[in-house]
């Protein structure tokens, strides 16, 4: 075989597509969950602070279950903690949108809404996949994310149709985040490979249903859907914005300073 080196490298990357696929699912939740957890103690009111901590815990829990399964799939002795705390930035597979700094409350909630609307559709598809351990995680996570979507949709309406300032902040967040949403629906050789293993997620259909939800809520919130434009992506292949490294430094420092510590 005289495959060009680029193709060779590509094959190496997807040597274990199921592992890679589970990392993508898990890193999305872990990274977004960590960003959400940064609100703990800083929520606008006590009740919302608790709500955001609940959401963060749900997402970190999903990430933990997915990374545990990824580690078992890899078979190299790495558990969820090893994958969460001892991988560096280019080894993370989350979509870039999820690693952006939490910003103001509007930015956090608009991002959460855009992801929740995607995530419920993704879990809905995965809950019926033939890979039983993943279907089990999906069924549990679907219930959690349906609540997250209800909560974040509600805030979209409140902010968009609220005061002049809340409307302006929500629109600014939506405009900023829009170019990162396309990455959620990108598919590549990893998706094709796991398709053959019974993990069938029709991303084109999901994108169309996601747009229906998002356009509906954005419209009712009296916000404007930003025009289509350039998209930013690369997270699935380990190319990240500058924000992820800073976030990981904070997220990983305790585990790296005290490897193997139990508490």
């Amino acid at each position: 075989m005289t495959a060009p080196s680029v193709a060779g490298k590509r094959e190496e990357i997807i040597a274990n597509p199921l592992f890679e696929y589970l990392l993508r699912l898990g890193d999305d939740r872990l990274v977004l969950g960590h960003r959400m957890s940064e609100w703990c103690g800083h929520g606008p009111i006590l009740e919302e602070d608790i709500a955001m901590a609940n959401i963060a815990l749900d997402l970190v829990g999903q990430g933990s279950a997915l990374l545990k399964l990824a580690g078992e799939t890899e078979g190299a002795g790495r558990d969820e903690d090893a994958l969460a705390y001892f991988r560096s930035e280019p080894e993370f597979r989350n979509a870039q949108m999820l690693e952006l700094p939490k910003g103001d409350f509007a930015f956090t909630m608009v991002r959460q809404f855009l992801f929740d609307a995607f995530s419920v559709l993704q879990w809905d598809a995965l809950a019926t996949c033939t890979f039983a351990p993943l279907a089990g995680i999906a069924a549990k996570a679907l219930k959690e994310d349906r609540y997250h979507l209800r909560h974040s949709s509600d805030w979209m309406l409140r902010m968009g149709d609220g005061t002049e300032e809340s409307h302006a902040r929500a629109q600014k967040a939506l405009n900023h985040l829009w170019r990162f949403t396309g990455e959620l629906f990108e598919s590549d050789a990893v998706d094709a490979a796991v398709h053959a293993q019974g993990i069938v997620v029709d991303l084109a259909a999901i994108q169309s249903r996601w747009q229906q939800t998002v356009f509906d809520v954005v419209g009712r919130a009296t916000l404007a859907v930003p025009p289509a434009g350039a998209t930013s992506s690369g997270g699935r292949r380990g190319r990240h914005t500058e924000s992820l490294g800073h976030m990981l430094a904070e997220m990983q420092i305790v585990a790296r300073s005290h490897p193997g510590a139990k508490w």
């Binding site: 009111i45 006590l46 009740e47 608790i50 709500a51 609940n54 209800r150 409140r158």
Partner: protein
Amino acid sequence: MADSQLPLWEVFTQPGHGEPHEHAGSVHAADAEQAMQNARDVYARRGEAVSLWVVASDAIIASAPGDAGPFFDPGNDKAYRHPQFYKVPRGVRVF
């Protein structure tokens, strides 16, 4: 001190099917939907409930502290208002 937060809502949780809803506490919220979500997040996030009620606190008519005497004290010395006051006649099955 005046409460500068959102309106107050009383939260009632039902711990199991067929059981009564019990007062769990209160939350602040702008409207009924947000009150329901906040009640869920504050009082039902650890599986404490199978059903929730939220009621605007100002919709509750409460007895006044000054009413305590005429309302409640007369009940203290009237043991015959309790069914246990009466002896059960012989021959009546007690469940």
